[in-house]
């Protein structure tokens, strides 16, 4: 009797010892059909849920022998579709590998399995006066393995860096089923920098089974300010002035009128009524240092034409100021039935110009756009609102999104900030890079995964094919509006 690849894979995976959780029924597979890029769905052939590295390795070995694609997945909060399964492949879910193996306060490191939630790392470090700095807005649920795979950022990466700057070592399984120990606990790791290479590689180069993260001391003091500006341009100029003055705030975020209104409606924030833009600035460090930085930032904010500057007087007020930022995307979902979030990054000095361009495009397309983003990093997140029920609205929003990203490239920026490429931006990769660079990416991929079984078709487009153009489409209410995003 001829066996199908699915039944063969299933039979082989069932022989793995100790036995491994496998999901193969239609009903059971349904929850895994997408990640947070919900516009695209696909049911995997099988889901395997290992609890140990050995089991994960066995899955990779079976898949390699059968030539079956593997998509690995953590918490599934990625928004560029990096963890969307393949109908002919195994989805390797790492959420049961969630032990914190060690917290070393002296070396200031934590060794964790990939399924550990981002915030849980900081919770475990807190008794030692330490925390894990990168804080994507979804940190209460997103997993550290996914953070590594996507090189996740967060509101505090302006000062503390992206995931790649906060890692010391990973263990990963390559496509041959070998376990690689990458990086080191010391200052330098000899050989090529495979740690940086695998970070942000979106599951294309290996399956991450263990991560050693760097922990940093909890700042002694934190000061948070909110400044209101008549126009977005003025707020953007204030951002340039702060950075230009040699200050590195812990966070520097901007929200425009559309977002302010949405937050006001859903959270009752009591923001200044006439503001065209708000800046949220946070500084931290030693007590003296934070106070000093706060005074300097406040002076700049005022000098740049702020109509009002509020300084949070305690932790409760600070949390309230941040609530608007972290809940902004959920609030936006109530404006129009659908919206599409763009993630691009630009040199900071181009902020005023690019934002003007975004508004001009919105006018041209007759669409509403809201901006809430990591201004200090030049990481923009324009949200384009549309109504999928109106014929042509969706296409127009996609076209406008594409033009924003192209503008990012034109001013010397890039088509991603912190959300990755996944399947969402495959086509834009062809605009961002020239053929020799795309070819270099493929050569690197081939060096790790010669038969192309690890997350094939994601992150790097083939030279021949620039894939279809999509986006993060919110239909009606965001799923799980309680989860903070971006």
């Amino acid at each position: 009797m001829q066996t199908s690849p699915a039944s063969e894979a299933l039979a082989r995976l069932r022989r793995v010892q100790p036995p491994l959780a496998i999901i193969a029924d239609e009903e059971g597979l349904r929850p895994f059909e997408t990640d947070a890029y919900i516009v695209h769905r696909e049911t995997p052939m099988l889901v395997a849920v290992p609890e140990t590295e050995d089991q994960a390795r066995a899955v990779v070995q079976v898949c390699r022998e059968l030539g079956v694609p593997i998509v690995s997945r953590g918490a599934g909060t990625g928004i560029s579709g990096g963890a969307i399964p393949r109908h002919d492949g195994v989805l390797l879910v790492l959420t049961k590998m969630r032990r914190v193996l060690e917290v070393d306060p002296l070396a200031r490191t934590a060794t964790v399995e990939p399924g550990v939630r981002n915030l849980y790392v900081s919770e475990c470090a807190e008794p030692h006066g330490l925390f894990y700095a990168p804080d994507p807005s979804s940190q209460s649920i997103c997993s550290i393995g996914g953070n590594v795979a996507e090189n996740a950022g967060g509101v505090h990466c302006l000062k503390y860096g992206l995931t790649t700057h906060n890692l010391l070592a990973v263990r990963a399984i390559d496509a041959d089923g070998d376990v690689l120990e990458i990086g080191s606990q010391a200052l330098d790791a000899p050989g090529f920098d495979l740690l940086a290479l695998i970070t942000g590689s979106e599951g294309n180069l290996g399956v991450i089974t263990q991560v050693v993260v760097r922990l940093v001391p909890l700042p002694e003091r934190i000061e948070t300010m909110l400044a209101a500006y008549p126009t977005v341009r003025q707020a953007a100029e204030a951002v340039g002035e702060i950075i230009g003055a040699g200050i590195v705030p812990a966070g520097l975020e901007m929200m425009d009128r559309v977002v302010i209104d949405a937050c006001e409606r859903s959270m009752d924030m009591d923001f200044p009524k006439d503001a065209g833009a708000l800046l949220l600035a946070e500084v931290d460090g030693g007590a003296e240092e934070a106070l000093d930085a706060m005074e300097r930032v406040r002076a700049i904010l005022e000098r740049c034409g702020a109509s009002e500057v509020r300084v949070a007087s305690d932790a409760v007020e600070r949390a309230k100021l941040w609530k608007s930022r972290k809940g902004a995307f959920a609030a936006l979902a109530q404006i129009l039935p659908d919206y599409y979030t763009i993630d691009g990054s630009i040199p900071r000095r181009c902020l005023p110009e690019v934002l003007d361009h975004v508004f001009a495009l919105a006018k041209e397309y007759g669409l509403t756009v809201g901006n809430v983003f990591h201004a200090g990093d030049g990481n923009i997140h324009p949200c384009i609102f549309y109504d999928a029920n109106k014929p042509g609205d969706l296409e127009r929003s996609e076209e406008m999104g594409a033009r924003i990203l192209e503008r990012c490239i034109e001013v010397g920026g890039t088509i991603t900030g912190e959300h990755g490429v996944g399947i969402e931006k495959l086509r834009q990769m062809c605009v961002q890079f020239r053929a020799p660079e795309i070819a270099a990416f493929h050569d690197v991929k081939h060096a790790f995964d010669p038969t192309d079984i690890l997350n094939p078709g994601k992150a790097v487009p083939t030279l021949k094919r620039c894939a279809e153009w999509g986006g993060m489409h919110v239909h009606g209410e965001l799923p799980h509006p309680e989860i903070p995003r971006f």
Binding site: A186, D188, L197, G412, G413, A440, V444
Partner: protein
């Protein structure tokens, strides 16, 4: 062979930019690791990208190896020429292309010296942070190729943390841009991959570096300790207290005494070890940090703590550290500098073991190093004229590096692998990882023409060398030769 290659190069380069005689080639026969020397077949000194492309093409067509070289200050032999190949000097690429004050970046050619960047942007109140001790001479292209560090990388990071973009040419002759001027670069992180790749993956043509505002104030603390171990613990306590000093350096008594005779830095000669701890930043911040560091030093048993009271005194305190290597050179006919790194927590233990090994081998060893980073630089003093002493020194050195691996550290800190540590790579890594390095190398350079024989050992070599990885504290093969 030489004539053929030279002829094909001269078709695209002016004749004076192609060197072929023994005389002309002599200056290129070694880099900062002068124990190894080799005469290249030809040296080429291109003046622009078009000429570099022509050199690459000529080498590719004739299957000749290409070794790129900046200032030649590398300490692990990364720029040692290949006898059958082209030595590609980037010395003429010495322009600062532009400086963007607002974005705080500088776009520079690879032959620009490290210090020149900082000097160039000083009027703008900016500087380039990584500062290898050779910064007056070493070039930025070489810094990228070796991922150089320096005294201040504890706070400001290595080269890889201070660059945004690299323009490079592959062996195929394609010009590629790695990285971006924005926060994120999509695709794999080839910028980090090419940084520290020791000329094995591509030839660097241009580097965009990050610039930092010059700190308002810097002050240094000099603390004395009764023994090396408590100084090591003080280092761990500073970091443990959540302080990130701009620099955190240790010198032991052998080093301070050598230095004091030489430059009169004002060191405490009774102390078994001293720490130099620098704080920089805004005035209030420095005052606060100096107070906290002083407290930690005293709590860790420092017998004396002095804080620099002026810029002149700060520079005097540092003068001893910076002159340490030549000073040690004055008290011994020969010395051998080792570069390894360890987790900070293991400092005390490793220093004690180094001292035990020193007694065992009857060789003096001075320690002057980046303690805050756990980057050791033991200097073994020997006399090459005493029969057997060099061999003993090499044995001692390899034992120190194995010790680094054993405590969870690595065989490099900031000097790279080059030819010097190619055998130790077999100890540091297992087959799976070495295979992966080779696969990456092959992805960029399928015929192995870029700096062959450096950085990553062949598996064959490792098999001959007979090493395997140190696991669970078991030291295999104590017979590791030359390091």
């Amino acid at each position: 062979m030489r004539e053929q290659l030279a002829e094909s190069l001269k078709r695209s380069l002016p004749a004076e930019a192609v060197l072929t005689t023994r005389e002309e080639l002599r200056p290129y026969e070694c880099d900062g690791l002068s124990a190894y020397r080799e005469t290249p077949l030809v040296a080429a000194i291109p003046a622009d990208e078009r000429e570099v492309a022509a050199v690459i093409e000529a080498a590719r067509e004739s299957k000749s190896p290409v070794v790129a070289r900046g200032s030649g200050t590398g300490l692990s032999g990364g720029a040692l020429p290949h006898k059958d190949g082209v030595l590609l000097s980037l010395a003429k690429f010495n322009r600062i292309v532009d400086v963007d004050t607002l974005a705080r970046t500088a776009r520079v050619q690879p032959g620009v010296t490290n210090l020149k960047i900082s000097q160039h942007v000083a009027p703008l109140g900016l500087y380039y942070a990584p500062d290898p001790s050779s910064q007056i001479a070493c070039s930025i292209g070489g810094n990228v190729a070796e991922n150089s560090g320096g005294v201040h990388c504890l706070k400001y990071g290595l080269t890889v943390h201070n660059i945004l973009k690299v323009r490079a040419i592959t062996i195929e002759g394609d010009i590629v841009d790695f990285g971006s001027n924005a926060l994120d670069a999509p695709g794999y992180d080839l910028l980090a991959l090419v940084t520290g790749s020791e000329g094995l993956l591509a030839i660097i043509l241009e580097v965009t570096v990050k610039l930092l505002p010059k700190p308002e104030l810097a002050q240094v603390i000099m603390a004395s300790f009764r023994d090396v171990e408590s100084a090591g613990e003080a280092v761990a306590s500073v970091i443990g207290a959540g302080i990130v000093p701009a620099g955190l350096e240790m010198m032991d008594k052998l080093a301070t005494r050598a230095v004091e005779d030489f430059v009169h830095a004002g060191y405490d000669l009774e102390a078994e070890a001293i720490l130099l701890v620098e704080s920089d930043g805004a005035r209030e911040e420095v005052a606060d940090e100096i107070a906290r560091i002083t407290q930690v030093m005293k709590a860790s048993g420092a017998t004396d703590v002095r804080v620099s009271r002026s810029e002149a005194e700060r520079l005097r305190f540092w003068s001893g550290r910076k002159a340490a290597f030549p000073a040690v050179g004055r008290i011994s006919p020969d010395y051998y500098c080792i570069d390894g790194s360890i987790p900070r927590a293991a400092l005390g233990q490793v220093l004690t073991r180094i001292a035990e090994l020193s007694a065992h081998h009857r060789l003096r060893c001075a320690n002057v190093f980046h303690a805050g980073d756990g980057n050791l630089h033991p200097l073994i003093l020997y006399d090459a004229n005493n029969p057997g002493e060099l061999e003993k020194t090499e044995q001692y050195a390899s034992e120190i590096l194995e010790l680094c691996i054993k405590v969870g550290g690595t065989i490099t800190g900031e000097h790279g692998v080059g030819v010097e540590k190619i055998n130790q790579m077999c100890v540091q890594f297992r087959t799976a990882e070495l295979e992966q390095f080779h696969a990456v190398k092959a992805a960029f350079d399928p015929f192995g023409l870029l700096n062959p024989g450096k950085g990553v050992p062949t598996l064959h070599r490792c098999a001959e060398f007979g090493a395997m990885r140190v696991k669970g504290g078991r030291l295999p093969h104590a017979d590791i030769p030359r390091f």
